[in-house]
Amino acid sequence: MAGMDDRILVTRIIDGDLHAFRVLINQNEKLVAHMVGRLIKHDGEREDLCQEVFIRVYEKLSEFNFQSKLSTWIATIAYRHAINHLRKRKIVTEQIEDAVLQEKFLTEVNPEITLSENDMDEFMMLLIDALPASYKTVLLLFHKDNLRYSEIAAITGMPEGTVKNYLFRARNILKEQLLKQIGKENIR
């Protein structure tokens, strides 16, 4: 259940208190920036989308029923807004079938992610960035934001089982791609 602070904040914003809305933005801007930033590569688009997310939050706030944390609800709006933006731009985001995924990531050499073996962290970032949007989102919500499976499921609209499955598959893809690029004998 949402805390009392959330209730007071939401009530004040619905009553038209812009200062309360400013507080909500300040509390959640990092979360929204992360949710959008992970999916949208262009800086200008990213900022515009973050702004639109909060405007949408303001317009939909009366529909928030405190069944989840306010931050989870806001993250859901941010995720869906970013995904819809990618769809409009016809950037592939949908769940990719296993066979297609295997082919794209495990057999196809992607010149964009060939890097010096010395810069492992940077290399890993590029591998992570190359994952499909939904895989990357689930992975980072779990590992970076330390959210629980149930929270990730609520944000992305996926069943918990799918979240766990995506986590496993995303890590597996990264591992396989790392071994493929670096080579098992060089992985130490």
């Binding site: 400013r22 801007e29 992360h34 405007i55 597996n172 591992k175």
Partner: protein
């Protein structure tokens, strides 16, 4: 549970032992797990909240004006329709006899005063009570 799942679970539970670290798959997974929390942080510009609020205010003002124009248009259409209906039903003929109103100065002054008062009340009282951000 597959071998891959087992390795991932062991790492997640911090249960990897030294002997496991000879396995290339384990080493690769450890690198993956180590890299994930280090991914890029995204941030918004300074005064982001102000920018959002200004954008919101502009949007609400646009919507308000749109509603105002819609009502104005509806009012004009209604007036014209009512006028046209009245003319056709009452067999109205244009007669400039209304200019005789100037003979009734009291009525004229009252009319001007009444309309001015309605305008004043509309601007000072009614519009102020509307929630216009």
């Amino acid at each position: 549970m597959s071998r891959e799942e087992e390795i991932q679970k062991k790492i997640q539970d911090n249960a990897i032992q030294e002997i496991d670290k000879d396995d290339p798959d384990v080493i690769a997974y450890l690198r993956v797990f180590r890299a994930l929390p280090k991914t890029r942080e995204y941030s918004v510009p300074e005064r982001f909240a102000e920018t959002v609020i200004r954008k919101l205010e502009r949007k609400q003002k646009r919507i308000f004006l749109l509603h105002e124009y819609m009502w104005l248009t509806a009012g004009i259409l209604l007036l014209v329709t009512a006028g046209a209906y009245t003319v056709t039903r009452l067999d109205f003929k244009i007669d400039f006899g209304f200019l005789n109103a100037f003979s009734y100065k009291g009525v004229l002054v009252f009319g001007i005063f009444f309309i001015a008062m309605l305008n004043y009340i509309d601007r000072r009282v009614i519009r102020k009570t509307k929630k216009l951000i």
